[in-house]
């Protein structure tokens, strides 16, 4: 015979303060747990969205980032002529030869604090290869001019990048003429301008990277073999999505490791809270347990009833924690990715997987916390229990 669930639930309702405090502790743990998973999911989502499956990034061999890389004009021409590279309707190769530098800009909320922003010089083709990028305010930079456009996250996080303002670097004034939306990609954290103008200004004779669109997604291996075998080229080639996710693997690992360690330590506290509450529940209801047993409820039913009570308690905590965490989705986090040494903005992202993990995590806490008290309750002798005051 099973003890009715509403009977169990009402036990929680009777002791409101205790229930609220215990569930509250668990809610905080679930909040931290979910927040960390959401942060990592947001970071990954941003990076996955940044890369198109049929785009490849070519950088100098051994260079970990575009900033460190250098590709000469001759080398870029060789990549352009590879047959695996797609061509547009006009027969031109879909290749963008770009220059990427870092510019340290003051943050909008504290001008004394600076962070590195990616400044990318790119030709018209660079925009074609990134269809997810669109201008949301102002206009695109004109080729051959000292105009620049800034990504949404840059516009939000840094000072001096409003439309009409000028940035001064490489002995030139660069006028901001537009703000673009990168569609929640890493491009939101970049500033774009004309590649040839930037090469001249920075006195550079080599590109940083070459972005190429494959004629078909499965031609990647063929192109890689071709570039690796060419003695004139010393380059690394990666799919764009892979390139971006490799660049943030450290940050992602750091967030996950730190978050999991914290969640586990914090959950110890919450589980202790649940144990205390459940032991108290058992102690104050000893006579009640005796009565239930005398009425014919089995030990197993008593065990189950107290376990369910603990799980319900945890579920309340889990749901409250998740609701609180879901408000985080409105927040965008911006920090320096130390692998690329540049600022990267990403949002807390709630996925169905995270909801399930967080609820499962809270139930595990409830189970562990409620287990010993439930055992104690189920082991009571009827006579002793009934005799208790």
């Amino acid at each position: 015979m099973k003890i009715p669930t509403h009977y169990i639930a009402r036990n929680l309702w009777v002791r409101k303060l205790t229930t609220a405090l215990t569930a509250g502790g668990m809610a905080l743990v679930v909040f931290v747990f979910a927040a960390v998973l959401m942060l990592d999911a947001g970071l990954k989502a941003t990076l996955v969205a940044t890369g198109s499956p049929d785009n490849v990034v070519v950088i100098r061999q051994g260079a970990q980032t575009e900033v460190q890389s250098g590709i000469s004009r001759d080398q870029a021409a060789l990549i352009e002529t590879a047959p695996e590279v797609a061509r547009g309707a006009d027969g031109l190769p879909l290749v963008s030869k770009e220059v990427v530098v870092l510019n340290s800009l003051p943050k909008i909320d504290d001008l004394t604090k600076r962070s590195n922003v990616v400044v990318r010089g790119l030709p018209d083709m660079g925009k074609t290869l990134r269809p997810q990028v669109s201008i949301v305010q102002g206009r695109m930079f004109r080729p051959g001019s000292s105009e620049i456009v800034v990504g949404r996250s840059v516009a939000r996080g840094f000072a001096g990048v409003e439309i009409g303002q000028q940035l001064s670097f490489a002995a030139r004034q660069w006028t901001v003429v537009g703000i673009f939306d990168g569609g929640m990609t890493a491009f939101d954290s970049e500033i774009w301008g004309d590649v040839e103008q930037m090469m001249q200004a920075f006195r550079r004779i080599v590109y940083s990277s070459v972005i190429a669109k494959l004629a078909a997604p499965d031609l990647f291996a063929a192109l890689k073999v071709r570039l690796d075998d060419d003695p004139r080229l010393k380059v690394d080639i990666k799919r764009e999505a892979q390139f971006y996710s490799d660049q943030s693997s450290s940050l992602s690992n750091f967030i996950t490791l730190l978050g999991m360690a914290l969640s586990i330590i914090f959950s110890l506290g919450a589980m202790i809270g649940a144990t205390i509450t459940m032991y108290a529940a058992v102690a104050t209801r000893t006579a009640e347990i005796g009565t239930l047993r005398a009425l014919g409820f089995q030990r197993g039913s008593i065990l189950l009833a107290f376990l369910i009570e603990a799980l319900l308690l945890a579920a309340v905590g889990g749901i409250v924690g998740l609701i609180a965490a879901s408000f985080l989705t409105a927040i965008t986090v911006s920090t320096t990715n130390f692998q690329s040494f540049s600022e990267l903005a990403f949002a807390f992202t709630l996925t169905p997987g995270i909801v399930l993990s967080a609820l499962a995590f809270s139930l595990v806490m409830g189970f562990v916390g409620g287990f010993l008290p439930a055992i104690k309750a189920s082991r009571m002798k009827i006579v002793d229990a009934l005799r208790a005051d």
Binding site: L17, T18, L21, T22, G24, G25, L28, V29, F31, V32, R60, Q61, G62, A63, Q64, T65, V67, Q68, V101, L102, N103, S104, K107, K113, R114, S115, N116, F169, A170, A171, R203, I205, K234, F254, L258, L262, I265, F266, L268, G269, A270, I272, G273, T275, I276, T277, Y279, A280, T284, V333, S334, T335, T336, F338, F341, E343
Partner: protein, 385 residues
């Protein structure tokens, strides 16, 4: 005396509950102390900075260099005592996870500005004689088992090719704040190699380290230096070494702030647990409190007993947690020594831990104390827990 005795005995009446609460408190205070220390660890570089050293770098960003001849112009600025060159090498030893800082420096001008690096004179001279020589810090040497005479092969993403350096000296720290986890080698060697393989990248300096005669003059000297190169191709940004180092922390400030914020969440969690314990305790003893009142104890005395009990609980848990903190921090540092050069446990961390304990005790005790103080003797005596 009676009062204290009463409180003390009450704490351990429900042994299991008190023990669990204390264990929870220990964990929370430990976790809090550890997180605070990790936050502090990011600032270790700034602690090591000297007030009489400035860093001049390219105003665009650190990834841009400056012509090395700037050195002579900087040296002629009044108040400047010496100028050295330092280039970030960004090399990797065997595998990417083996990452440590390497700098190509102009040794004859660099090390006199860093008296906190203590060298063996003979080793230092051997380093000066070897063009491909390198010096490494004690901590770095211990981390990878490097010895004097070893060859360290490095691959750099910034400077292509394979590089090899001979360890000629191992330097020690002069005091607690000195970080000895870097490697230095001769700028001239790097420069000569570059001039051969990539001439356009030769004769460039990543940063200039500028020694000045007194710290107070730093803002002025910085302005004069930056004005010197205004409107040139490589404009400069000069700041104190401390500001320069803090600039790195500012870049990841979001993460540092998040860790600090989260450290208070664990205190909130344990606050809820302790408050729950006290609420249950007080509820069970409501009839006792009524009895005490009937015997003539003032409501304030009853309230003080409950708050005292909450404080004692918090003090026991926090005290044990604080005692264990140095051990846990040491263990954690041993596991993360490749990430954090220093993990200084500062007095402030202990003060914060103590403050948190007081807050937990107060919050946990206040509601039940008020309730017990207010309870009418008749109701209390009639109360069944």
């Amino acid at each position: 005396m009676f009062f204290l005795n009463f409180v003390f005995r009450n704490v351990f009446r429900a042994k299991l509950r008190s023990t669990l609460t204390i264990v929870g408190l220990i964990i929370a205070i430990l976790a809090f102390g550890l997180l605070q220390t990790v936050v502090r660890a990011w600032y270790a570089g700034a602690d090591a900075a000297s007030a009489t050293r400035l860093i001049t770098r390219n105003a665009i960003s650190l990834t841009f260099s400056m012509p090395v001849y700037y050195r002579d112009k900087i040296r002629s600025v009044p108040g400047v005592t010496s100028v050295s060159v330092s280039n970030w090498f960004g090399g990797v030893y065997k595998e990417p996870k083996n990452f440590f800082a390497q700098f190509a420096v102009d040794a004859p001008t660099y090390f006199p500005m860093y008296p906190e690096f203590v060298f063996d004179t003979e080793q230092y001279q051997a380093f000066m004689r070897d063009r491909r020589g390198a010096v490494i810090g004690r901590q770095l040497a211990e981390l990878y088992g490097f010895k004097v005479g070893d060859v360290i092969p490095l691959k750099s993403g910034i400077y292509p090719g394979s590089w090899e350096f001979n360890v000629r000296a191992i330097y020690d720290a002069k005091d607690e704040t000195t970080i000895t986890r870097q490697m230095y080698f001769h700028y001239d060697y790097l420069n000569e190699q570059l001039k051969r393989t990539a001439p356009r990248r030769g004769d460039l300096a990543g940063v200039f380290v500028v020694g000045i005669n007194e710290g107070q003059a730093a803002p002025n000297i910085s302005r004069v230096i930056d004005a010197e190169f205004k409107n040139s191709l490589a404009e400069t940004l000069t700041e104190t070494e401390k500001a320069f180092t803090l600039g790195f922390v500012a870049m990841i400030e979001t993460i540092v702030v998040a860790i600090e914020g989260v450290s208070y969440v664990v205190i909130l969690i344990i606050m809820a647990v302790a408050a729950n314990t006290m609420a249950m305790t007080a509820r069970e003893r409501l009839s006792e409190y009524a009895t005490l009142k009937a015997l003539g104890f003032k409501p304030g005395a009853v309230a003080a007993m409950i708050i005292g009990e909450a404080f004692l609980l918090a003090a026991l848990g926090a005290g044990l947690g604080m005692l264990l903190t140095p051990i846990v921090v040491k263990g954690f540092h041993a596991a993360t020594v490749s990430v954090f050069a220093k993990m200084p446990l500062v007095a402030q961390t202990f003060y914060l831990q103590a403050a948190c304990a007081v807050a937990v005790g107060m919050v946990a005790g206040i509601v039940p104390a008020i309730r017990a103080a207010r309870v009418k003797i008749v109701d209390g005596l009639r109360h069944v827990a």
